[in-house]
Symmetry: D2
Subunit: 131 residues, 4 copies
């Protein structure tokens, strides 16, 4: 199930080309998965407080059209796959009906010291929308 | 008259101290004045399209308490003064009733080439809340 | 031919995990290709002044180990392929002999209005190391 | 005694005005004081590892001229004052002989929990250049 979030482009997110700098989309993806988790009852902030982390291991982005300052863009976040230790999300960033950027990120569950840890079962189920 | 805006702290806004990096507050101030102007009928995005710019000439921030990832902070923006070519805004960033940061920025009106220009009368009046 | 550049990690590049935020690597890749071009006689700053742009169309990063504040990392940039309108670079970011991150970016040549344009022959040859 | 550091402006540091975004100067100031400390035998990275922090309490910047992508700017850092718990640095960011930005930051010494702590005597003396 898709999570839909909106965010407004900050001036500081643009670069001298006049559009959003490409690295900023990874921040939009991050906003998307924060809200995906929150909507399923798992605040990522509290997850870290419990001593677990979701660490990025891979990221991909394909840029379709430029985004501009002050646009209120829509971030769509979908779960692609969750395994024992890893989770993959797909994202699209849109302006109205236009796709601006598509991408995905793979994250591994670790503890404070960076050791791989099992994704807690309750989180895994929540991400999958299983009740 | 005060403009009240909220924004949620992005993960990317934090640093290794575990709080929001101090430079990010200048971005929050920027969000505040974008919304201050929009609420008074003057989109800053459209202002730039007309060939005019509000360029920062001075900024000040006093940090009271740390902000954290995922907080939904309130940005309060007030006009301190508008002259023929310059405008000064005051800001506070708050978490509930706690002040996190206070500051101000001075901006000069310029054209594309950086030459000082008069602030359009309609904008000056709108900023002051004069009808 | 590989271009080797070093850069020191800024405090502001870290996040609350205590490491460099993953989006920053796209900025390091950007530093790498700026220096790749400069070393081959083509300043990207001057390229833009001539009215042409290299616009990111795709980016990929795989994160191997975390980078920390104050590390002086090595960015290795290699040309993978240059066509009439597109160029692909490969990057690794390293700390001593450890690979921290590997990635690639695909860029398209456009004019100011975002229309695809041929990569100038002199640039294409310089990127390939042809004299 | 002044510390002189150079850094090259990243593309990602610019905004759609075509110049460096004003918030980035706080990052340049940070680079400046990192190098000021290192040159006096006190790595700030190691300082944090020892459990102490220098936390920003106040920042000020006055913008004189715009900085551009790819400029190699000079950051000059000077100690203004160091007390038992607080230290103030002055900065100028320059391009050749032109001053781009002047500013200062005040920092307080705290422990991991944000409690004020005395600045270690060896650090205080080193900052002042006392042997």
């Amino acid at each position: 199930m898709e999570q839909v979030t909106t965010t407004r482009i900050r001036y500081a997110d643009t670069d001298q080309m006049g559009y959003v700098h490409h690295a900023k989309y990874l921040e939009y993806f991050e906003i998307g998965r924060t809200e995906y988790m929150r909507a399923r009852g798992h605040s990522y902030a509290r997850f870290e407080e419990s001593g677990l982390y979701l660490v990025l291991t891979e990221a991909h982005a394909a840029y379709r059209r430029p985004a501009r300052y002050d646009m209120e863009v829509t971030i769509r976040t979908r779960l692609r796959e969750v395994s024992h230790v890893q989770v993959t999300f797909d994202y699209t960033v849109e302006n109205g009906r236009e796709i601006l950027c598509e991408g995905w990120t793979k994250l591994a569950c670790t503890d404070r010291d960076g050791k791989l840890r099992r994704i807690p079962e309750s989180l895994g189920k929540a991400l999958e929308g299983v009740k």
